[in-house]
């Protein structure tokens, strides 16, 4: 029997390799990680300045503001998720590799979420407190963000994959992706609203969980199909 010329990595090895590569790359460009977070904080700071400092008004609109800001910050950070790989050709290698592309995509986006989504979740309670949200509503806010930001990343990545080959993709990206974010925004913001008025939000969280499972299953397939089109 001939030995195979080289060792073909298993699925878990692939996931681990992609995760390590992404995190190393991100670590080498630490400064860029901060930008979407700063955007998140500044956008939220602008609202009290525009609307006025009355705590009652702010408290009323806080869940919506935080969620809209999280949504825009995710979109901003996603914009470059495939860009450098597309430019230096490594994206083509991933598309051509014998390993399933949806899996590689999922690993890439997991790394992206850990670096861009998790910090948002950790920052959100502080900003919520500044917007006079009741303390009881802060854990539900974090819970909705924990379930919701992966959905934002996955749906957004479909749009990024479709526009990665275009020169001025950013403005187009928001037109493509933002309408698809609407269900998530509605359920998440109203979950936090409900929590702020002291009611149970189990039902809301279940729906958010369902959305997460749904996009987690289907979005990697759509992203892979889009990447195959963009790289040809």
């Amino acid at each position: 029997m001939n030995q195979p010329a080289f060792h073909e990595p298993g699925l878990f090895e692939v996931i681990r390799a992609v995760l390590r590569r992404e995190i190393t790359l991100a670590y080498r460009h630490r400064g860029e990680l901060i930008n979407p977070l700063m955007f998140f904080v500044i956008v939220i700071t602008l609202f009290p300045l525009g609307i006025g400092p009355e705590l009652n008004t702010l408290q009323r609109i806080a869940p919506g503001i935080i969620w809209v800001a999280a949504l825009l910050a995710t979109l901003l950070s996603l914009d470059t998720v495939f860009r450098s790989d597309f430019e230096d050709g490594s994206l083509e290698q991933m598309v051509l590799s014998p390993q399933p592309l949806p899996l590689i995509v999922l690993a890439k986006l997991t790394a992206h979420w850990m670096l861009a989504g998790l910090p948002l979740i950790l920052l959100a309670p502080l900003l919520g407190y500044m917007l006079a949200m009741p303390l009881d509503a802060l854990p539900p806010l974090m819970a909705t963000l924990a379930l919701g930001t992966p959905v934002l990343t996955l749906i957004g990545a479909i749009g990024v994959a479709l526009t990665v080959g275009l020169n001025r993709g950013s403005a187009l990206l928001s037109l493509l992706v933002l309408p698809l974010y609407i269900p998530l925004l509605i359920f998440a913001a109203s979950a936090v609203d409900t929590a702020a008025s002291g009611m149970s939000i189990t039902g809301h969280l279940l729906i958010l969980g369902a959305l997460l499972v749904f996009t987690l299953t289907l979005a990697p397939l759509a992203i892979s199909a889009a990447l195959r089109i963009s790289t040809t």
Binding site: L166, L172, L180, I182, P183, S190, L218, A226, I229
Partner: protein, 246 residues
């Protein structure tokens, strides 16, 4: 069966057969519009509650119906083009998109014109209005993506994926917007409810719906033909046809 579909999907065959269908279809559309509009604007009685402004609905309802079904038709044809690589399906999806967008805009404008006397304002964040607006954004996204990509082949395939993602999302959006509306906004506006529609108002409405559908079929064929002949301009049958005509 498959042979028939392949034959129909061939550009030349489609061009010839649609050329034969178009004129009679155009006349039928025109006739339906005349009958429907006369019925809607003159013959049907004014509503006892809404008065004369009920006549806007004869324009509004068919447009709103088509705005949704155009998206489904567009997504399905785009998917056919993506999966079986049928060029003709790409072209038809391309042709439907602006029509669906126009229908959505007509539905939104006539809806708000109707809303002014009924609800006292041009715009309310009603569930149906909001989901119609979101539908408009989905159309705009589809068209924007298609115009942004230079190569027609990959433009069609990329926008097909977008249309499919949108198609999966439409029920979720619709459901969530309904839910958002009932949650955030108590029923300040009493809607029409569901009055059983009288026969004198039903027939103009049905004819108008039929007229819109015929118009949709007609303009889709027309637009597809124009785009088809443009994209096939280097093929031999188009060159031959042009030479014979000139």
């Amino acid at each position: 069966m498959w042979k028939f579909i392949h034959k129909f999907a061939s550009p030349k065959y489609f061009y010839n057969i649609s050329g034969k269908i178009l004129p009679p279809l155009g006349w039928v559309t025109l006739a339906l519009f005349i009958v429907g509009l006369v019925g809607a604007l003159f013959l049907s009685p004014p509503d006892y509650q809404q008065g004369e402004s009920v006549r806007i609905l004869y324009i509004h309802v068919p447009a709103a119906m088509l705005s949704m079904s155009c998206y489904v038709a567009m997504a399905i044809t785009a998917a056919i083009g993506l999966i079986w690589r049928i060029k003709l399906a790409d072209i038809v999806a391309w042709a439907i998109a602006p029509i669906g967008m126009t229908m959505t805009i007509i539905a939104l404008i006539t809806g708000s014109v109707w809303g002014k006397p009924m609800w006292g304002t041009y715009w309310v964040w009603d569930a149906r209005l909001t989901s119609e607006l979101i539908l408009l954004f989905l159309y705009l996204g589809f068209i924007a993506l298609q115009t942004a990509i230079e190569d027609t082949r990959s433009a069609a395939r990329a926008s097909a994926i977008l249309a499919l993602v949108g198609l999966v999302n439409i029920p979720i959006i619709k459901y969530s917007v309904n839910w958002w509306n009932t949650l955030h906004q108590p029923a300040t506006i009493s809607k029409m409810g569901k009055p059983s529609i009288d026969a004198s108002m039903l027939w103009p409405l049905l004819i108008m719906i039929a007229a819109y559908m015929c118009y949709f079929a007609w303009i889709t064929l027309k637009r597809s033909r124009c785009e088809l002949i443009y994209r096939e301009r280097n093929s031999s049958w188009v060159k031959k046809m042009v030479k014979e005509a000139s």
